[in-house]
């Protein structure tokens, strides 16, 4: 996989993808990275950016003005502050949810794929049953089981994260299990067995490192799904209490009844925040997916093949499509 001349920095997941990309694909990747970076920065500096606290009360349903740039909600919260603080909630939930599901999914996938037999079959059937079910419904049932539907700041965030985790575990499980089964037949695993390494050691050292290569990709795709699930939970009223943390889905739920009065600012801004964040993460994840697959990867035009050929900065491809675009998104 790794090219000989690449330094460690150049072989990092996102950086190496950036190097491989051309044209429209690079435009999508760069756009996604910019949006994602913006999202993360907003989350990190939320206390500095937000003009007010997320649970601070003002007069309700004020139109956007100098004092409240994006107006206030029916509950009297400042919309801009809620949107900014909401990035923090989203980041925490994504991180907790994805780490938990990677941990459990990878562990189960390794064990299931390596040991095989009845344990494997049972786990596969359970994972498939969960996988086939509408994710949001499962998350709702989980959130009720965990927190009776509503709870405090940390409790709410963890309840949301764990609800999302249950949905994701089968995905990681499937990927890792399939990889483990493939790797189990490789000579280096067999030789480790012959040498007398224990099953735990083989799983932890030899298979784990090789089976987890595709994880960065699933991570980005799942991060966007985690945001949508979190917002869905909040929208249905099974998320985090508004006084504990800012959450976009909850704000959208409250904004729903404002629409009939023509009040647009309570819904449009948190909704746009969700769309932008998911868009950024999806663009990154999808570009990485295409670039990982040689059949989908765009190729540089013939005549620019020399290794030292200067590459055009990617974003212009989006502005002037049809001129620089190489083939991407090929058939499967």
């Amino acid at each position: 996989m790794s090219r000989k001349e690449g330094s460690l920095f150049q072989r990092l997941p996102v950086i190496s993808h950036l190097g491989k990309s051309v044209g429209l694909q690079r435009g999508m990747l760069v756009t996604g990275l910019v949006i994602t970076a913006l999202f993360l920065l907003t989350a990190a500096f939320a206390p500095l950016i937000a003009p007010y606290g997320f649970a601070q009360h003002f007069d309700s349903q004020l139109a956007p003005s100098g004092k409240h740039l994006w107006g206030t909600t029916s509950g009297g919260y400042d919309v801009l502050s809620r949107v900014v603080w909401g990035t923090q909630t989203a980041v925490i939930v994504i991180v907790v949810a994805v780490i938990l599901s990677i941990f459990l999914g990878v562990a189960l996938g390794l064990v299931s794929g390596y040991i095989g037999g009845w344990l494997d079959r049972i786990l596969v059937v359970i994972a498939d049953a969960i996988y086939a079910f509408p994710t949001l419904l499962l998350a709702i049932v989980m959130s009720i089981a965990i927190s009776h539907g509503r709870s405090s700041m940390l409790g709410g965030i963890f309840a949301a994260a764990i609800s999302i985790t249950v949905v994701f575990i089968p995905q990681y499980f499937r990927v890792i299990r399939a990889e483990t089964i493939r790797l189990k037949a490789e000579p280096f695993v067999e030789s480790a067995m012959v040498v007398g390494a224990s099953s735990v050691r083989i799983m932890a050292r030899h298979i784990y490192k090789n089976a987890t290569r595709t994880l960065p990709l699933i991570f980005t795709l799942n991060a966007s799904e985690a945001i949508l699930t979190l917002a869905g939970l909040g929208f249905l009223g099974f998320g985090i209490e508004p006084s504990s943390a800012a959450e976009w889905g909850y704000d959208l739920n409250k904004a729903l009844s404002d629409t009939t009065a023509g009040i647009w600012w309570t819904g449009v801004f948190p909704g746009a925040a969700i769309v932008l964040t998911v868009l950024g993460l999806t663009l990154v994840g999808e570009s990485m997916n295409d670039l990982n697959d040689p059949r989908l990867r765009g190729r540089r035009r013939a005549g620019r093949k020399q290794p030292a050929a200067p590459q055009t900065p990617g974003t212009n491809a989006l502005n002037a499509p049809g001129t620089e675009i190489a083939g991407n998104g090929v058939t499967v």
Partner: protein, 363 residues
Amino acid sequence: MTTLIDAPPQEADGLLPSKKTKTGGGLGKYLVVRFLLIFPTIFILITLVFFLMRITGDPITAALGGRLPPDALQARIHAAGYDRPIWVQYFEYLGQIATGNFGRTISDNLKVTDMLATYGTATLELAINSLVVALIIGIPLGMVAAKYRDKWPDAVLRIFAILSYATPVFFAGLLLKLVFAVGLGWLPVAGRAKSGNEIALTALANPTGIYWLDAIRSGNLAALGDVMAHAVLPAIALGLLTGGVFLRLVRTNVIGTLSRDYVEAGRSRGIREFRLVTKHAYKPALIPIITVMGLQIALLLGGAVLTETTFEWKGLGFQLAQYLTARDFVAVQGIVVLLAVIVALTNFIVDVVAALIDPRVRY
């Protein structure tokens, strides 16, 4: 919800990833085994939901706790048998489900089966409407994107497809309401029909519960217009989400068939480009789309919960949210079991269709 990766058709079936590696055996055997696999799927989901719901306590305390004096509450719990060991209750519940008895809802004391029938048809109607919207959006635009691959229409449509995925159904619904219902005043804000029409349609003999069908059957044109007007925005909100997925699928598959030799042969014989895309390349590309369409049912059902809440569309999803808020776990279990059955059956049908089309899928 679904990931955006375009899965090749033979990977589309949800169950038993190992089956592709096995060989031998006939179609009949495959169908039988695949049919039997429905039951563990449903069984696992029922078990999961039953125990998850019971972690929070018994349904009566959940629904009525705090509203009844403790001894009266205790008496009702005892009468319903919720104070017995959970394993006893679990097996009793399984036995009841096997005989089709789902109990009565706690909050409004309906038979769960009746409740499912009443609200299920509303969800079915929404699902059909939005599927139509999704097909109208997805198939022609997918063909356009494939035809103009890597040119600007393709770039625009790909961004549209990603946006349709990135926009939560309820936000799309909120925007549609703001613009077309409140701003322009063209369409109603929420509901399935005006209350007068709703009463007229449900009072019919043998109503199907699908309002536009009932309106056509009774020849009530005014009601039909009203029902259609109410159906537009929810169908678009939910249809956009699925339509984006279809667009990508059609694009990928038409690109695949457009590069085949027979299309090239047709082109050299002077068949016009438009006809090549719509007739020659499109039809073979449709087969994998049909199988994946079945898989979208899970996405559609999840989206229906949110869409119905957004538009106060009184279907299973809307009721589910209501029952959840009321902590009516008997009703919730009923709805979840029904959805599990639908999803498992759809996956079965999809796999059967895939096996009939493509012999490689079989055991």
